[in-house]
C-alpha cells in the first residue's frame, strides 16, 4: 500500500510541477490543483496509513491511541482542502481577468513571439 501511495503522490506532483511550468494560464491552474492533491496526500500520509480505524472515539472509557488513525494530519488537510479551493478560485479569477485585459491566456500577459 505504502509504495502505491507514494508512487501516486510522485505522479501527481510531477504532473502538477510540469503544468506549473507551462505557458498557458489554464495549465497552471490545473497544475496547482494536482499539486494540492499531492501535497494534501503527502501531509496526510505523514500520520502513517491506518486502514479501518477512523478517529471516532467511544463515549467515555480508556482510549488507546495506537488503535486509531492520527487525527492531526487529517485536521490539517481538512482546512487545506477548503483553502486550496479558495486559492483555485482566486487564480481562476486572476486568469480570466488577465485574459480579458491582455487578450491572451499566456501567463505573462503577452505571447512569447511579441
Amino acid at each position: 500500500m505504502e509504495i502505491i501511495l507514494s508512487a501516486a503522490i510522485g505522479i501527481l506532483s510531477a504532473s502538477g510541477i510540469w503544468l506549473l511550468l507551462r505557458p498557458r494560464s489554464f495549465q497552471v491552474v490545473v497544475g496547482l490543483c494536482l499539486l494540492s492533491y499531492a501535497v494534501n496526500l503527502f501531509i496526510f500520509s505523514m500520520g502513517r496509513l491506518t486502514p479501518g480505524a477512523p478517529p471516532i472515539m467511544p463515549k467515555g472509557g480508556f482510549v488507546d491511541p495506537t488503535r486509531y488513525a492520527d487525527p492531526l494530519p487529517q485536521a490539517l488537510v481538512l482546512t487545506a482542502i477548503v483553502i486550496s479551493f479558495a486559492t483555485t478560485a482566486l487564480f481562476l479569477v486572476v486568469m480570466i481577468a488577465s485574459r480579458g485585459m491582455t487578450g491572451t491566456d499566456h501567463v505573462d500577459g503577452k505571447e512569447r513571439s511579441q
Binding site: E2, A8, S13, S15, L20, L41, M57, L72, R99
Partner: protein
C-alpha cells in the same frame, strides 16, 4: 507620586489631544483652536508646577512599562535644560496655534492641521524629556515623520511634496545614524539610561568606538539642525504653511539637533575631534547660511538661510563646550526662537495680505501696515544683534567666547575673525529685509492691496517682540536665572552663576559688535542694487548647490539603480520565476536530506491491495492525462482532473479519514463547476500553436519534464521513507485521548478544528472570507476579451424556444434536490461533533444546493425566487465565530475556550451542545457565504456579457438607422 503622575500626563497630553482633534468635524475651526490651545496651556501649567524643583537643580523622573522584553521602559527625565526647552516649545506652540487659526484659509482642515501639530509637539517634548536614549530616538524619528506630514500639508503643490520628501529622507536617515550611535553608546556605557550615560563621559571618550559613535551622532544632529552640507532641506521645507515654519523651523524641530549637541557635550565633547567637527561645521554653516540669506529674494527663503546661519552659531558654541559657551548656546536657542518665530509670522502676514513673498516686488509696506512693519523691524534688529534686544546679548556672548576662549589650534585663532564675518553678513541681510520690504516707494503691482491683518493674527507677534525687548533690556530679571539653571544641569552643579548683563564696559566683544553693525550696513548699502538684480546666491556659490547633488544621488539611487538591478536580477515573466522556485525547492530538499534520508530498519508496510492498485492506476492515468491535455483540450483536462480528485477522495476514505473524504468530494464538485464557468472566458484553441512544433519549444518541454520528474521522484521518496517508519507517539495521541473528556465530542478531527485548534480555524475562515471578497472585487471590474462576449456556439445554432427545454428532466430533478441537500447539510452539521461531517462539509453542501439551482435553470430564474446575500452570510459567520470566542472572556478564560456538554432533547435524544458548536455555525456560515459569493460572481459574468451584447446590438442598430 502626584508629581510622577503629572509628569506622565504631561508627556501624553499632546498625543491625546491630537487623537481627539482627529475626531472633530472638518469645519470645527473654533473648537479645534480652543482644544489645542488649552492643551498647550495645560502643559505649561504643569511645567510651572515643576519650576520650584527645577530651580534648585532637581531632576524629575517618571517611568512606565513599554517594551519590557527589550528592557525598554518609557523612562522620563526632566532637568533644567529640558524644562526651559519644553517651556519654549509650548509657549511658542500656543502663539502658533492662535496665529494659525487666522492664517489658515477656510479650505484647509484646521482640526487635521492641529492634530498633526499636537502630535508633533508631543514628539518634540518627548525628545526633551526622554530618560532613555532609545526612547529619545523613537521620539526623534517621530518628529521627522510629523514634520513630513506638516511640510506636505498642502500636498496639492509639487513643491510641498518635494520639500516634505527631502526633509524626511535627510532627517530620517540622520535619525537612523543617531539610533546606531545610541545603541553603541548604550553598549559602551552598559545602560541606555540618559543620566548614567551623561555621567560616563570619560569611559566613552576612552573607548575605541568613540570615533564611530561621534561620527554617527553628529550625522544625526547635523541633519536635523540643517548644518552644512545637509542644510538644503530647510529652504525646501519653506513650502510648508507659515505657522509650521514658525514653529518647526525656528523654535522646535531644527533646534532638536542643537539640543542634542548641548545635551551630550559632557558625554562626547571636550576632545579635539569634537571641537574641530562641531565648531568647524558650525562656523561654515554660520557664514555660508548668512551669505546665501543675503541673496535670497524669497522672504521665507531669507529667513530659512538665516535660521541655518544661527543654528550654525549655536553649533559652534556647543563645539567650544565650556560652561559659558553652553550657557550662551542655551540663551541663543531661546532668543533665536523668539525673534525668528515672530519674523516668520510677520513674513506670513505680509504674504497673506499682499499675496507675494518676493522681495523684488515688495516695497514701502510701512505706510499701509505700520504696526506689522514696526514689529518686524524690531524683530529683525534683534536678529542683526542690535543693542537693547535679546539677539544682541547672546551674540555678544558668542563673540566673547570666540575672543576669550583658547585651546591653541588654528581654528581657535581664526574664530574671532570668522565670527565677525558672520555677524556682518547677518546685519546685512537683516537690513536688506527691513529696507526692501518696508521702505522705498510703495509697490503698486502687488496681487492684493496690502493692509493690516486682523488684530489676533498680530497679537502673537506683538507678544514675541515684547519678549525680545524685555529680555534685551532686563536679562538678569527675566531669563537669567532659568538659563543659569539650565546650563548648570548640563555643565554640572559646580558651574558658577553667570550674570547676564548688557554693559560690560568697553571691551573687545562690544567693539566687534559695533564693527559688525557698521560693516554690515556698508555691505548692504553698496551691494543692494546688484543683489536685487542678481541670482539667488553669492557669485559662483549659487551654481554649486547641495540640493543638486542630493537630486542627482536620489535619482541614481531610487530610479536608475533599481531599474538596472531589476533588469539584471529579475524578470517580469512568470515561467522562469516558477522554474527557479521549483528548482530551489528541489535543491533545498536535496541539501537538507543528503545522506539523512534512510529507510527504517523494519519497514511498516501493509500488503498491497489489488483494488487500491487499480484505483491509483486510474488516478495516475487521470493526472498524467490532465497534464497532457490541459493545453488544447481544456474540458478533457478538467474531467481528468476531477478523476484524480475522486481517487484522492477514495484514498482518504480508505485510510480512515471519512471527514476528509466527505470534504474532498464536496469541494471537488464546487471546484469543477468553478473551472467550468471559467472555461467560457478563455480563447478558443482549435488549431495548433505554430511554434509548439519548433525546436526551442521542444527543448523547453524536455527541460521541464526533467524538473517535474525530479520533483515528483523526490517527493515520492520522502513520502515512502516517512510512511514506512514506525509510529511515534505525538500530540495526536493527546487529542485522541482528550477529545471526549475535554472537547465533548467523539469525532476527534472535528473537535480539533472547532475546539483544540479553533484559533487556526478562525484564521482559515478569515482567509476564505478575504479570498471571497477579493474574487468578488476583481470580477466587478472584469471586462471580457471582445471575442468572448459573443453568445456561445450552443446558443446561436439553436435559437428556437426549445432551448428552454434543454435537459428538461435533469433540471427538474436538480430543482427537487434543493430541500434534500439542505437537509443533508443540516445532517452533516449536527453530527459533525461526533461523527464525520462538520461546519466545513455542511457549508459546502449548502453552497452546492444553491449552485445546483443556478445550473438547473438560469441566473434570472433563481434570483427571482431566492435571495442569497453571501456577503452577509460571511459577515455574520465571522461575527458568530468571534463572539463565541470572546464569550470565553466573560468567564475569565482565554479567547476561544470552549465549553462542552450534552443536552437531552425530546424525540431527538442526546445532542452535543458544546459552545464549539456555536463556533462551528460561524464556520458553516462563512464557508457558505464565501463559496456562494465566488461562484455567483463568476456566473454573473455571463449575464453581464449578454447585457453588453444587447447594448452593442442596440448601438449597431442605431448607427444603421442613422
Amino acid at each position: 507620586m502626584a508629581e510622577h503622575n503629572l509628569f506622565l500626563l504631561f508627556a501624553c497630553l499632546p498625543f491625546a489631544t491630537s487623537l481627539i482633534l482627529l475626531t472633530l468635524r472638518q469645519t470645527a475651526r473654533g473648537a479645534a483652536t480652543w482644544l489645542s490651545g488649552l492643551s498647550l496651556v495645560a502643559g505649561l501649567a504643569i511645567l510651572a508646577g515643576f519650576l520650584p524643583d527645577i530651580r534648585t537643580g532637581g531632576v524629575l523622573r517618571a517611568s512606565g512599562e513599554w517594551v519590557p522584553s527589550l528592557g525598554m521602559n518609557l523612562a522620563l527625565r526632566m532637568d533644567g535644560f529640558a524644562w526651559l526647552f519644553a517651556t519654549l516649545v509650548l509657549s511658542i506652540g500656543v502663539l502658533v496655534v492662535i496665529y494659525a487659526r487666522y492664517y489658515m484659509g477656510s479650505g484647509d482642515s484646521l482640526p487635521r492641521f492641529f492634530a498633526l501639530l499636537m502630535a508633533f509637539t508631543g514628539a518634540m517634548q518627548g525628545i526633551l524629556i526622554s530618560g532613555n536614549v532609545l526612547v529619545m530616538v523613537v521620539f526623534w524619528e517621530l518628529t521627522s515623520f510629523m514634520s513630513f506630514l506638516l511640510i506636505g500639508f498642502w500636498h496639492q503643490g509639487a513643491a510641498a511634496r518635494d520639500g516634505a520628501r527631502t526633509a524626511l529622507i535627510i532627517t530620517a536617515l540622520g535619525g537612523l545614524c543617531l539610533l546606531t550611535a545610541m545603541l553603541m553608546l548604550g553598549q559602551v556605557a552598559g545602560t541606555y539610561d540618559l543620566g548614567i550615560i551623561l555621567r560616563s563621559g570619560d569611559a566613552i571618550r576612552a573607548h575605541p568606538w568613540y570615533g564611530a559613535i561621534l561620527a554617527l551622532f553628529l550625522l544625526g544632529a547635523f541633519t536635523k539642525s540643517a548644518q552644512f552640507p545637509f542644510h538644503f532641506w530647510l529652504p525646501g521645507a519653506m513650502a510648508a504653511p507659515t505657522p509650521v515654519s514658525a514653529f518647526l523651523h525656528s523654535a522646535t524641530m531644527v533646534k532638536a539637533g542643537v539640543f542634542l549637541l548641548v545635551r551630550f557635550s559632557p558625554a562626547l565633547g571636550g576632545t579635539e575631534a569634537w571641537f574641530f567637527t562641531v565648531t568647524g561645521i558650525g562656523m561654515i554653516t554660520l557664514i555660508l547660511g548668512a551669505a546665501v540669506a543675503l541673496y535670497r529674494h524669497d522672504l521665507k527663503g531669507l529667513l530659512a538661510y538665516s535660521t541655518i546661519s544661527h543654528l550654525g552659531l549655536i553649533t559652534a558654541l556647543a563645539g567650544i563646550g565650556g560652561p559659558v559657551a553652553i550657557l550662551a548656546a542655551i540663551f541663543h536657542i531661546c532668543n533665536h526662537a523668539v525673534f525668528k518665530a515672530s519674523l516668520f509670522m510677520a513674513a506670513g502676514i505680509i504674504d497673506h495680505e499682499t499675496g507675494t513673498r518676493d522681495m523684488r516686488r515688495l516695497s514701502g509696506l510701512f505706510r499701509p501696515m505700520p504696526f506689522t512693519a514696526t514689529l518686524a523691524i524690531v524683530a529683525a534688529a534683534a536678529m542683526a544683534g542690535v543693542p537693547l534686544l535679546n539677539g544682541f546679548l547672546s551674540k555678544e556672548m558668542f563673540l566673547a567666547e570666540a575672543v576669550d576662549w583658547h585651546n591653541g589650534t588654528w581654528l581657535d585663532e581664526a574664530l574671532p575673525y570668522l565670527a565677525v564675518v558672520g555677524s556682518c553678513l547677518s546685519v546685512a541681510y537683516s537690513l536688506r529685509f527691513i529696507a526692501t520690504v518696508f521702505f522705498g516707494p510703495q509697490a503698486t503691482d502687488l496681487p492684493k492691496a496690502p493692509h493690516e491683518p486682523v488684530a489676533w493674527m498680530r497679537r502673537p507677534v506683538e507678544l514675541l517682540v515684547l519678549i525680545c525687548l524685555l529680555v534685551g533690556i532686563f536679562p538678569a530679571l527675566t531669563l537669567g536665572p532659568i538659563v543659569n539653571a539650565a546650563a548648570r544641569s548640563v555643565a554640572g552643579a559646580e558651574m558658577p552663576y553667570y550674570k547676564i548683563a548688557i554693559w560690560h564696559g568697553v571691551n573687545a566683544p562690544l567693539m566687534l559688535s559695533l564693527v559688525a553693525l557698521a560693516v554690515g550696513a556698508l555691505i548692504y548699502v553698496f551691494s543692494a542694487r546688484a543683489i536685487a538684480a542678481g541670482p539667488e546666491g553669492p557669485f559662483l556659490l549659487h551654481r554649486l548647490r547641495a540640493q543638486r547633488v542630493y537630486d542627482w544621488l536620489l535619482f541614481r539611487l531610487t530610479w536608475r539603480l533599481p531599474r538596472l538591478a531589476h533588469g539584471v536580477m529579475s524578470t517580469e515573466s512568470l515561467q522562469p520565476q516558477l522554474r527557479l522556485l521549483v528548482l530551489t525547492g528541489v535543491a533545498v530538499a536535496v541539501a537538507s536530506l543528503w545522506g539523512g534520508l534512510t529507510l527504517a530498519q523494519e519497514l511498516r508496510l501493509h500488503a498491497p491491495n489489488p483494488a487500491f492498485a487499480m484505483l491509483w492506476t486510474v488516478g495516475a492515468a487521470c493526472a498524467i492525462g490532465a497534464a497532457w491535455q490541459a493545453k488544447y483540450h481544456r474540458f478533457a483536462a478538467l474531467v481528468l482532473l476531477g478523476g484524480a480528485g475522486v481517487v484522492t477522495c477514495l484514498t482518504f476514505a480508505w485510510f480512515s479519514s471519512p471527514d476528509l473524504a466527505v470534504t474532498q468530494l464536496l469541494v471537488e464538485i464546487v471546484t469543477t463547476v468553478l473551472l467550468l464557468l471559467g472555461l467560457r472566458w478563455l480563447p478558443k484553441r482549435r488549431s495548433e500553436i505554430a511554434e509548439d512544433k519548433l525546436m526551442p519549444a521542444k527543448i523547453r518541454r524536455g527541460r521541464d519534464l526533467v524538473i517535474a520528474l525530479a520533483g515528483g521522484f523526490g517527493i515520492a521518496a520522502i513520502a515512502f521513507t516517512v510512511m514506512t517508519r514506525p509510529v511515534v507517539s505525538n500530540v495526536g495521541d493527546w487529542f485522541l485521548g482528550n477529545a471526549y473528556y475535554e472537547g465533548g465530542g467523539t469525532n476527534v478531527v472535528n473537535v480539533i478544528l472547532v475546539d483544540f485548534r479553533a484559533f487556526d480555524t478562525f484564521g482559515e475562515i478569515s482567509v476564505l472570507a478575504i479570498v471571497g471578497l477579493t474574487v468578488y472585487g476583481l470580477l466587478r471590474r472584469f471586462r471580457p476579451a471582445p471575442e468572448s462576449v459573443e453568445a456561445p456556439y450552443q446558443q446561436t445554432v439553436d435559437d428556437s424556444p426549445s432551448l428552454d427545454d434543454y435537459l428538461y428532466v435533469p433540471s427538474v430533478l436538480m430543482i427537487w434536490m434543493f430541500p434534500i441537500l439542505i437537509m443533508l447539510s443540516g445532517y452533516f452539521f449536527f453530527r459533525g461533533h461526533d461523527l464525520p461531517g462538520g461546519g466545513f462539509a455542511a457549508g459546502v453542501t449548502l453552497a452546492i444546493a444553491f449552485l445546483i439551482q443556478y445550473i438547473a435553470t438560469n441566473v434570472r430564474w433563481v434570483e427571482a425566487r431566492i435571495t442569497v446575500l453571501p456577503i452577509r452570510w460571511m459577515g455574520f459567520g465571522l461575527l458568530i465565530a468571534v463572539s463565541t470566542g470572546m464569550g470565553a472572556w466573560l468567564f475569565g478564560y482565554p479567547f476561544l475556550t470552549a465549553h462542552a456538554r450534552y443536552v437531552d432533547i425530546p424525540l431527538i435524544g442526546q445532542v452535543p451542545a458544546a459552545t464549539a458548536l456555536l463556533f462551528d455555525i460561524g464556520v458553516f456560515a462563512t464557508v457558505v457565504g464565501a463559496v456562494v459569493l465566488m461562484l455567483v460572481a463568476i456566473a454573473h459574468q455571463s449575464l453581464r456579457a449578454s447585457r453588453m451584447r444587447e447594448a452593442d446590438e442596440l448601438a449597431a442598430a442605431k448607427k444603421e438607422a442613422a
